[in-house]
Amino acid sequence: MISVKGIEKSFFGKKVLQGVSFEVSEGSIYGLIGKNGAGKTTLMKIMTGLLGADAGSCFFGKEECRIGYLPDLPGFYEYLTTDEYLDFLLFDKNPIRRNKLLEMVSLAPGLRIKTMSRGMRQRLGIAAVLVNDPQVVLLDEPTSALDPAGRSDVKEILLRLKKEGRTIILSTHILADMDSICDRAGFLHNGVIVREVDMNENRESAAGMVIRFASEPDLKTLSGYINPIYKVDPLTIRLDFSKENKQESQQNILKGLSVLPQEITSIRTTEQSLDQIFREVCQ
């Protein structure tokens, strides 16, 4: 279990982190979400020891825990090739491990780094971070500035690393990526973690319903039972459950639907998206 408690950090008198606390279970992927400038990179640098905190502590579960950190837009020696760069990080001692790392991230040896795309560089960065076989991997915006194919490749690698039992903490402002791979997410706002979401629970618990009718529904009658009603298209509406009283709002929806003469062709529930949570919490 990684335990971060009360991390505080100021720059030139301005408090960036004001007591950040969260925990990450071993072998899981934790996502750190926040607006640009929220302090995600600062927090990660503090966790890796690159920056000192003004207060607070970070415990990685054991004394001798190997940590790998990949910064946002990592710098590489452009004139080296992929294998030469990993050999450099391995102190020229382990060509077998170098080949294994390249295979893990699907990169060929002999590629000049200068000619590589952003996606390939990000994969090389992940390989570089894995050189010392870390138990905990911290990734700062690993998928930003990548195209959809690049993001998919990186996400695949991260899920593979999770399967190997590594603990991963990644920061991002791309919520769709967070949604698809993280087990838990923490929203960093105003220097603290304002909300944590268990992604698996969030996916299971419904936030509303999307209902499709065979013909245009009588929304005036329905609005007597539930408000607001969001029109997705002429035949489809979306209804959100009340946060305060979910059960009551579900009952009202069913009552309203039962008095409508129009035939219902499909009903499905929707979970509260990270986007909705982000807007609620961080703005």
């Binding site: 910064p71 990592p74 391995l90 102190f91």
Partner: protein, 261 residues
């Protein structure tokens, strides 16, 4: 030598070769050598040519001027070559290298290697050794080649041993210039300041210091020694020790600063 330093040097050697710096430095030295050699022979014909066109022209003072600027004796001529190397070649070297360390640091290239156990001073030490040896090596090779060619076309008044000694001293000059530039680039707020201070020192101090008796003991005297193709070998001892001491002090200061950061 630490493992980290050796690996950094291999990396930097690759960088020097693949980025074309080896070719640039070698070409510069060769270019300067060809230029001095060409000027020596072209300019030495000018007074005679002028006299044939303008019979009343006073060629004696012009001949004297040209023989001072581009003498036709090996020892004096190679001194001119050394001066141009000290002026132009070191200017180019400083301009090429002054920002390489700070650019690497600021672009985050050190983060991943430091995570794996590299020391920041490995990066500095490697750059000094590789670029210092590259520039010094080009100068030594250029100096000796120039000596060989000059002996074929000019009056020889310098032994090979003397040329070798001066060549090694001039190579050391470039080594020290590279080392100071890189060390100061990590100390000053911007690497441009380090370039300016090194270039100003190399260009101005040897000439100014020549007017003072104590100038012989300054670190920059090694440049004046080579420009004059001096054979007073003992005179290099104090400036050499001075340079080594200043380098050691700068190394310790930079090392402490990097440790703190």
């Amino acid at each position: 030598m630490s493992e980290g330093l050796i690996c950094c040097m291999k990396k930097d050697i690759r960088e020097c070769v693949r980025s074309g710096k080896v070719i640039l430095f070698a070409a510069m030295v060769a270019g300067i050598g060809l230029m001095i050699m060409a000027f020596t022979f072209i300019f030495s014909d000018i007074p005679e040519a002028l006299w044939s066109q303008l019979p009343g022209f006073d060629i004696d003072s012009l001949e004297e001027l040209i023989s001072t600027m581009y003498p036709k004796m090996v020892r004096e001529n190679i001194g001119v070559f050394s001066y141009y190397i000290g002026f132009f070649f070191s200017l180019v070297v400083v301009l090429v290298i002054h920002g390489i360390l700070t650019r690497e640091r600021d672009n985050g290239k050190w983060i991943l290697p430091v995570e794996q156990g590299y020391n920041r001073m490995d990066f500095l030490g490697s750059k000094i050794l590789v670029y210092g040896t590259l520039s010094g090596g080009c100068v030594l090779a250029g100096y000796l080649l120039y000596f060989v060619f000059a002996c074929s076309f000019m009056e020889r008044n310098m032994s090979f041993g003397h040329a070798l000694f001066c060549g090694v001293i001039h190579a050391l000059n470039l080594f020290f210039i590279v080392a100071y530039t890189l060390l100061l680039s990590l100390l000053y707020p911007t690497p441009v300041l380090s370039a300016v201070s090194v270039i100003a020192t190399v260009i101005l101090v040897p000439d100014v210091a020549g007017y003072f008796a104590a100038g012989k003991y300054l670190p920059t005297y090694l440049l004046s020694f080579v420009y004059d193709s001096s054979d007073r070998y003992g005179d290099v001892a104090v400036p050499l020790m001075f340079n080594i001491t200043i380098l050691a002090i700068l190394w310790v200061v930079v090392s402490n600063r990097e440790d703190k950061s």
